[in-house]
Symmetry: C2
Subunit: 369 residues, 2 copies
Amino acid sequence: MDDLSKRGFLAGGVSAGLLAAAPFEALAQAKAEGRKLGYAMLGLGYYATRIIMPRFAECEHARLTGLVSGTPEKLKTFGEQYGVPEKSRYSYETFDRILDDPSVDIVYVVTPNSLHRTFTERAAKAGKHVMCEKPMATSAADAQAMVRACKAAGRKLMIGYRSRFQPHNVEAIRLARSGAVGPIRTIVADHGFTAGDPNQWRLKKALSGGGSLMDIGIYSLNATRYLTGEEPVAVNALESTDRSDIRFKEVEDTIAFQLAFPSGATANCFSTYSANCNRYRVSGPKGWIDLDPATPYEGQAMRTRIGGKTETWTPPTGAKSQFAGQLDHFADCILTGREPIVPGEEGVKDMKVIEAIYRAAREGRTVKL
Amino acid sequence: MDDLSKRGFLAGGVSAGLLAAAPFEALAQAKAEGRKLGYAMLGLGYYATRIIMPRFAECEHARLTGLVSGTPEKLKTFGEQYGVPEKSRYSYETFDRILDDPSVDIVYVVTPNSLHRTFTERAAKAGKHVMCEKPMATSAADAQAMVRACKAAGRKLMIGYRSRFQPHNVEAIRLARSGAVGPIRTIVADHGFTAGDPNQWRLKKALSGGGSLMDIGIYSLNATRYLTGEEPVAVNALESTDRSDIRFKEVEDTIAFQLAFPSGATANCFSTYSANCNRYRVSGPKGWIDLDPATPYEGQAMRTRIGGKTETWTPPTGAKSQFAGQLDHFADCILTGREPIVPGEEGVKDMKVIEAIYRAAREGRTVKL
């Protein structure tokens, strides 16, 4: 069995059902063979090159095998640095030829938000599985189209919700859902940074689709959903943007939003480009779980207060980084025919709430979901 | 000049303008004489007897000279403990005779909320200045009536917003308003505790006027107002109450509210009877100010992060307690003819916002103020 047909067998949509019955065998086999799935990074900006790419070295099931960029110098520099051969370096024009590149199993889309949909669709059409950064798209409709495109192509789609693979967050989820604080009653989640360069793509609506909520506030939103394991049913929001500030001509600065969950849990969240914050707290009658910072690239800190006792939690030494965890998880899912814990549908859910938040702010009313 | 006529001169509404021109002389004179104004405590529950009354010993301008209670044993016990003579111990029936008691300058109303109005009005009618606990009343209309009653009687009215005299809070206000964090962009304020005994008056609507918002959430609200020095112009809210819980048959448990301020600052606040929390954070582009806990009886802790540097702030040793500060401030205002920093009007403002919060939650819309 050559590499391509093996990949076809292991990763194909048709065989997923079969593999689901024997995931451990398949994984064990791949591991035994030392086989790693190949990722092509699409969009070689800061996050891809500085944060993600160095982490392949840490991966058990993933390796970097392709590069896609509009900048030839980047293709050359990073191609040489990571040993990606010229034949697996693509421009956005030549990208679709990746169809014929057996070294690439997965395309990881790390472009400005408004390009996520088109590259996800093109990657799926080229027979590749797709990892796409958050926010998944600039609208729920686009996000849903992406899910459909990947399904039609028989390929998997996962969204880059790295915190789901970050040890402190994983422990917070476990504690919160295990009833450690009693029924969750309140969540406070604040994410923001002070936006600098007014020319960055994040501040251009055509590229970003929106302001701080799309970029950083989505961490507050996503945290409320993963901590509760529930979907919000009602949303309030207040936006505060100084439109005379050159940075905020096109997108919102600060948006404060509230979410009501079916269990009775309520969340107060901030999203802002005018203050540095990155934290959440989950509370109930028995205590609270506090992450501050909660979702940075590194440096998470966790305190709990349960039964009147305040404690600091630290992960076991040598725990895999969130980045390697995310890359490996998707490869593992493909190898074993399972669905990722953060599939395209997860991104769609966030996009629907994001649209409800904008609507609530605009219309000055509670929006029901 | 005997004690009564001197008090009449110094404290009377008519002479306030005159005194305002020479407050320091009057204060200096009172201080020189070692004269302290007399407080009668009305309502001898936990807060009055355990928290406030022991603090008169610390006061420069205030002393305990009267007691009002429906429980004769309490009058006897505390009267003896604090040296309040029998003639200055009153039942609620005999209370109005306090008119003829020259030892009492101020009545401090510490009853369940729904009784604040009537006792404030009776005290003013008896010629006494009034300190009234928060929430000032159970409606904005009642609160306004209390302001009118005291004005009509030519007596001062102050609300027991003790945090305004608490060193960490005073420093936070100074920092926040001085622009230490830049323009204030976000405030998070959370106050709550787990309500126990289902029979306590706080959970009876006829006595409390409402649930956690009236009792503990008002600290979140008041903090947003004193930190910004502004009045909110728009309010959102989500209520979450399990009405099958015997504690919450009559009043709300958790209410999450959002406030928009004219400067563009936005606040996310929690008020709850289902989790222990007592903190706020004020943020702007230059950093943040963090109090956790923020408004307990004691034990406040403050951290700031400004210009990339995290610091802990502690008050100078020997700083006066918030309780003595509050008692002395009102006495000082009366002695010098000044208005308290938290007059009845301050309580009215909170009550108006509280009503807007309830309305926003009930009607599912942003309420403008």
